[in-house]
């Protein structure tokens, strides 16, 4: 064993790694490295016994930094790092190589996989020698929350946050709370309106949840208000609102994004004739018709004449969903459920009406959906499998042409009302809000929430809830809002957060204040200020995300990303490519990476 300071641990991953990599050869090869203090092999470093090994072994004091060869540093690596931290290791002196996913599992050739593991481990050791011990940044969290959107998810989130004792600001673009759920006449599975428990309540404005929100002293509702700007960083953000009362500024510690979704604009599929033929409506239009029919009566009529009740109704499913060409590729999840609900509602009000549902396949990711379907069939709703090709009009009646794949027949039939089950797509404003908050969008352009397995601080105090994150039913939006609110409240209750120190620092002696970094920084963390009579760039620790764009942009190499320094990177590359020089600290920026 060497006299170095690096403790090296290898994990067999209960044989998974050992199966594909010769760990004896790897351990022997690494022991030759003079930087290495010892190499220890364990069956399962992330397990309780493995953690004990890490703690005990590091506690012996023979190593001052650790390199582990195991699985992915993002998940199990955090457990191992925490165990070592418990034994006194600074977490910035820990390096983990994923010899499982990056070597063992992708290379059939055992020799080649072992060679590669050896290379990557040596490189990690070279980098580990350059690492410096750092402290996390501690930031205060302002005990107020911003909830963007006043739909069911937003309202629920605000209520939860208020219940935990923090002030919540709901900012709603429109003039009313409730969102789209408020415009629904019946919802699945309770067959109530989206918000209250009283079945067909016209005056939903006074329903319990909206009333709870309006009366809660811990909730401030900003209606007809737009978010203009969001400034600041993790834990302390300055939000500029533009509302009926003019400009207003809020200081909040956490943000819940509940901007919801829009319904697909059926005009984008011209062959269904929406907007051309008056007897083609969307399910949102039908909601309104059904609601008025129940309350006033005589409103379930063909829009083309405003008088006669439709004798046949045809629902077309997946309008704008699961359609890569004219709509969105994703399934909107709720359309089968609500269309069947509406079909049943029509049957309930007017059993003599013939109702057909044209579907590709029925999807209802909810318990109770199957029963819902069965009941609809029992009530006389007819399900027709196959896509509808075209909607046309002849002699004042709409016609639909479709294929019944069960019968294997092309059918062209006249009908009185065509209902398009439109899907959900990202809200028009969501992209702008996402940009303001530096959130990514997913492949369907919904706001991407981070993998829930990641530590909460990765979210930087911004949580996405409800349909903003993807199509959801009301029940799931509410659950989502509750969990987002709980995470936000937890942050505010702690009052402070620890943020990684791996952010940009400026060497003021090298900085010439040119401002290229200020231009490059998306987070407005870099700012050129005058200091002692000259211009230098400074960093806002709360805002800097450590992406390193500014460092790469700096012509003077005045900017370093802590924990990702130039000497560290060079040492790693040099070693991984097999060049023998160790301690690239002599090159580049000098003493930065030198340790010990």
């Amino acid at each position: 064993m060497g006299k170095g300071r690096v403790g090296v641990y290898l994990c067999t991953c209960r044989g998974e790694i050992a199966k594909h990599i010769d760990l004896d050869r790897l351990a022997a090869g690494l022991s030759e490295d003079p930087a290495v203090a010892f190499v220890r092999v364990d069956q399962e470093l992330c397990g309780p016994a493995g953690q004990d090994v890490l703690r005990a072994s590091h506690g012996e004091g023979r190593s001052d930094r650790v390199v582990a060869g195991a699985c992915t540093p993002n998940i199990q690596g955090l457990i191992m790092r925490a165990a070592l931290e418990g034994a006194g290791l600074n977490k910035y002196l820990y390096e983990q190589v994923n010899i499982r996913e990056l070597c063992a599992w992708v290379h059939d050739d055992r020799e080649a996989a072992t060679d590669k593991a050896l290379r990557l481990m040596r490189a990690a050791i070279a980098r580990a020698l350059m690492l410096e011990a750092l402290d996390d940044i501690e930031l205060k969290v302002v005990p107020e929350s911003l909830v963007i959107g006043g739909g069911v998810a937003g309202m629920q989130a605000a209520l939860e946050i208020a219940t935990r004792g923090f002030l919540a600001h709901i900012v709603e673009r429109t003039g009313a709370l409730g969102g789209r759920a408020y415009r629904l006449s019946v919802t699945f599975p309770t067959h109530n309106c989206g918000i209250c428990c009283m079945q067909y309540c016209r005056e939903c404005v006074l329903t319990p949840k909206i009333e709870d929100v309006m009366q809660n002293p811990k909730i401030k509702v900003h209606l007809n208000t737009r978010i203009e700007k969001i400034d600041g960083g993790f834990g302390d953000r300055l939000v500029t609102l533009e509302g009926p009362g003019g400009r207003e500024e809020l200081r909040v510690g956490t943000i819940v994004v509940a901007t919801g979704s829009d319904v697909f604009d059926a005009r984008r599929i011209p062959e269904y004739g929406f907007g051309v033929f008056r007897d083609v409506v969307t399910t949102m239009d039908l909601e309104r018709m059904l609601e008025q029919e129940r309350e006033i009566g005589g409103r379930f009529v063909r829009p083309s004449d405003g008088r006669t009740m439709p004798r046949t109704v045809n629902f077309i499913q997946c309008v704008g969903s699961r359609d890569r060409v004219k709509g969105n590729l994703h399934c909107s999840l709720v359309c089968c459920t609500y269309a069947i609900g509406q079909a049943r509602e029509i049957k309930k009000l007017h059993p003599e009406v013939e109702v057909y549902i044209h579907y590709i396949d029925l999807r209802g990711p909810y318990r109770g959906f199957e029963e819902h379907c069965e009941q609809a069939k029992a009530e006389g709703v007819v399900f027709v499998r196959g896509r509808v090709a075209e909607v046309s009009e002849k002699k004042g009646r709409v016609r639909i042409r479709f294929e019944d794949t069960d019968l294997g027949k092309q059918i062209d039939m006249a009908t009185d009302l065509v209902v398009l089950a439109v899907g959900q797509e990202p809200a028009a404003e969501s992209e702008r809000i996402a940009k303001l908050l530096h959130l990514q969008l997913d492949e369907d352009r919904f706001i991407k929430d981070l993998n829930p397995n990641f530590p909460s601080e990765y979210r930087r105090g911004v949580f996405v809830a409800g349909c903003a994150e993807g199509p959801k039913g009301i029940r799931y939006s509410i659950e989502d809002a509750k969990s987002a609110a709980a995470a936000a409240a937890d942050l505010m209750a702690a009052g402070k957060i620890h943020k990684t120190r791996a952010i940009a620092v400026v060497d003021e002696t090298r900085c010439r204040g040119c401002g290229r970094c200020e231009e490059a920084c998306e987070y407005h963390a870099a700012r050129v200020v005058e200091k002692d009579g000259r211009l230098v760039s400074v960093r806002d620790e709360a805002r800097c995300e450590g992406c390193g764009v500014c460092a790469a942009q700096c012509c003077n190499r005045a900017i370093t990303i802590k924990h990702h320094t130039r000497p560290q990177m060079e040492a790693l590359m040099r070693r991984v490519l097999g060049t023998k020089g160790r301690g690239a600290g002599g090159k580049g920026q000098g003493a930065q990476g030198e340790v010990g």
């Binding site: 050869r25 090869g29 030759e32 992915t72 993002n74 994923n98 499982r100 996913e101 990056l102 070597c103 063992a104 599992w105 992708v106 290379h107 059939d108 050739d109 080649a112 996989a113 072992t114 060679d115 590669k116 593991a117 050896l118 290379r119 990557l120 040596r122 490189a123 940009k435 530096h438 990514q440 969008l441 492949e443 791996a502 490059a520 998306e522 995300e545 450590g546 992406c547 390193g548 764009v549 460092a551 790469a552 942009q553 990303i561 990702h564 130039r566 990177m569 060079e570 790693l572 590359m573 040099r574 991984v576 490519l577 097999g578 060049t579 023998k580 020089g581 160790r582």
Partner: protein, 165 residues
């Protein structure tokens, strides 16, 4: 190459100038949000790619300085590939755009230096696109095999002009 006789020390390039196929040694800079996770997923799904691919994790492809690419080639890499989030979808908003700009700027320079522009590639993928990740690695490796070894690595024995220990 082969100076030390120690395995794994040759950047995966195999036993030097002797017979046997040339196995390109690649530095794959992967961002922490899409590039690296897609590599991990390729592993989870056991999708093979050549062992000469050495994955280097960075927070964002936007932190990759042109000098890093040059260093990698100077140290003997046969190729450098930068793997980050899809365009318009960078975790840090525009880091991948910066990386692409820098790569576009570097490529003609690599040609001028006789290193060939083809030694530098960028790939913008989603975190879940493991198949594409592995395919990109195989494809790049094959292209480099065609192109031949890095002339710097051959001349300077890949030590970047500095003496060994």
């Amino acid at each position: 190459m082969g100076q030390t006789g120690s395995p794994g020390d040759d950047g995966g390039r195999g036993p030097g100038p002797g017979p046997g196929p040339f196995e390109p040694s690649i530095i794959a800079f992967t961002c922490a949000w899409c590039g690296y996770p897609s590599a991990v997923l390729a592993g989870v799904n056991r999708i093979e790619y050549p062992p000469g691919v050495n994955i280097v994790r960075v927070m964002c492809t936007g932190m990759i300085e042109p000098a890093y690419v040059m260093r990698a080639l100077e140290y003997g890499a046969d190729g450098v590939i930068i793997v980050g989030c899809l365009m318009e979808n960078c975790h840090y908003m525009v880091g991948n755009k910066r990386a692409q700009e820098r790569a576009d700027m570097l490529r003609p320079l690599l040609d001028m230096m006789g290193l060939r522009a083809a030694r530098l590639r960028t790939e913008w993928i989603n975190a879940s696109e493991r198949v594409r990740f592995a395919a990109a690695m195989r494809d790049f490796s094959a292209a480099l095999r065609e192109l031949g070894p890095n002339p710097l690595g051959r001349c300077g024995e890949g030590d970047g002009g500095e003496a060994g220990p």
